[in-house]
């Protein structure tokens, strides 16, 4: 795909803009993206907005097969089935569907009803507290995007920006 701006170089940055209920997509090469002041770290998102853009431009996750891998720790569903252990906290998001089914079988329930953990309440240190809350918002943002609830996504994005 060529860059929407210069029509010369390959588009490397895929930007989704949400204005009100309107969603527009912009495909830019790294140079034009930089010229517009857009971060070009899409491949390795380092901040929530990057994650958001990354999530938006990803194709819908395929039906989770054994080959599916957690992007954070590289654990595959096959590894999990062999060892019975997940590699990191993000695996729970990566294999959400398969896990929900498994949890229902093992525990007879798939939703936590015990003590809730809110970083802002339990973590007064702003650095660590912020991280956990941001992570939670990011997860919700990814879900909103996947469900195409763009208004919710926009609100969450604003919250993330404010926290940053």
């Amino acid at each position: 795909m060529l860059c929407d701006q210069c029509k010369e170089r390959d588009a490397m940055v895929h930007l989704t803009q949400i204005v009100g209920a309107e969603v527009t997509q912009l495909h830019l090469c790294e140079k034009c993206a930089a010229a517009k002041g857009i971060e070009t770290t899409v491949a390795m998102p380092k901040h929530p907005l990057g994650d958001f853009l990354y999530a938006v431009q990803q194709p819908a996750p395929p039906a989770v097969g054994d080959q599916a891998r957690c992007a954070h720790c590289q654990t595959s569903l096959r590894d999990f089935r062999a060892s019975g252990r997940l590699g990191c906290a993000h695996c729970y998001t990566a294999f959400e569907g398969a896990l929900r089914e498994l949890l229902r079988r093992v525990h007879g329930a798939a939703r936590h009803r015990g003590r809730e953990y809110t970083a802002s309440v339990m973590t007064p240190a702003p650095e660590t507290g912020g991280t956990t809350e941001l992570e939670s918002l990011r997860v919700r943002l990814q879900r909103a995007v996947a469900a195409e609830e763009f208004e919710v996504a926009a609100a969450l994005r604003d919250q993330i920006r404010a926290l940053e």
Binding site: R85, A109, G114, R115, T123
Partner: protein, 359 residues
Amino acid sequence: MTLDLSLLPDGGMPWITASGPHADIVLSSRVRLARNVAGFPFSPRARDAERLEVLDRVREAAGHSSLLAHAVLLRVDELTASERRLLHERHLVSKELAELDTPTARRGSAVLVGDEAALMVNEEDHLRLQVFRSGFDISGAWERASRLERELGDRLPLAYHEEFGFLTSCPTNVGTGLRASVLVHLPGLVLTQEIGKVLTGLQQMGLTYRGLYGEGSDVVGNFFQISNQTTLGRTEDELCDHLARVVAHVISRESEARRVLSRDAGYIIEDKLWRAYGTLRHARNLGADEAMNLLSGVRLAVGMYLIGGLSVYTLNKLLVFSQLAHLSLAEGRPLTEIEANLARARYVRGVLAEEAGGA
């Protein structure tokens, strides 16, 4: 690093005093919470440097908690296999953390031992908080575990998911991460052959049972560890209350079985238990399982007031200190199985003779 157990408050076994409710039937009540620090892979998947960083952060956080501020830190990764076995025999580290069959344990693995609580670090999960109480006291264990968890959670960002709760390496622990367990001695139900029905009943009520050393350990000496099977979908209070209600029922069944034994087979039981005591007092060669079974008989005799002058505390101590790593420690060298059997008989004879003398 040489392991100095004298540094540990109560030797790391606050339950051994037998001071809690129903201590003749219930050895200990335990609540364990599994937690992970956000931002790090789970311990089995983490690199050495990441596990060491987790350990640093946990130490720092524990230093500010009321229950672990003065805890002793034992670096399990710097201990010999025999020293790790010693901690395992005291229920301070799990089989997983002790890695009994390997020359060295996983880098960054450690345990913090405080007066009332202990904390395994870099087990299957980054944190395994444990509170042991003497006798039947699940609520006391939960109250302390809960306080410790809040104190640590105030300083460490924990891995949490709004739908799945606290995230753990193995999904069988996810949600509350809570495993409440009670170590009970049920010789009355075994002798009256009621135990099968009781154990089936436990499973029907969502509970599970294991041997003296938890997961993967055999049932010896009529000791059963009863615990909740699931951790998700119910609140911590519900899980603890349910276990407590069922265990209270099991205790009353055991007491009833002992009454029946006493009424219907009085002299047979009395003879059997005194014979167990006699063997322990005089044997020269005692295998580990044999000792456990004989101690079970003596424990029942003490519970049924057949043998006086012997405290439940002494019986608890004998259970732990007559095991291989403890005998090796006392002898100052690693023992073979045959040497351990001789040392075990000597040790048990000595303790019982001392108690009998004092009675």
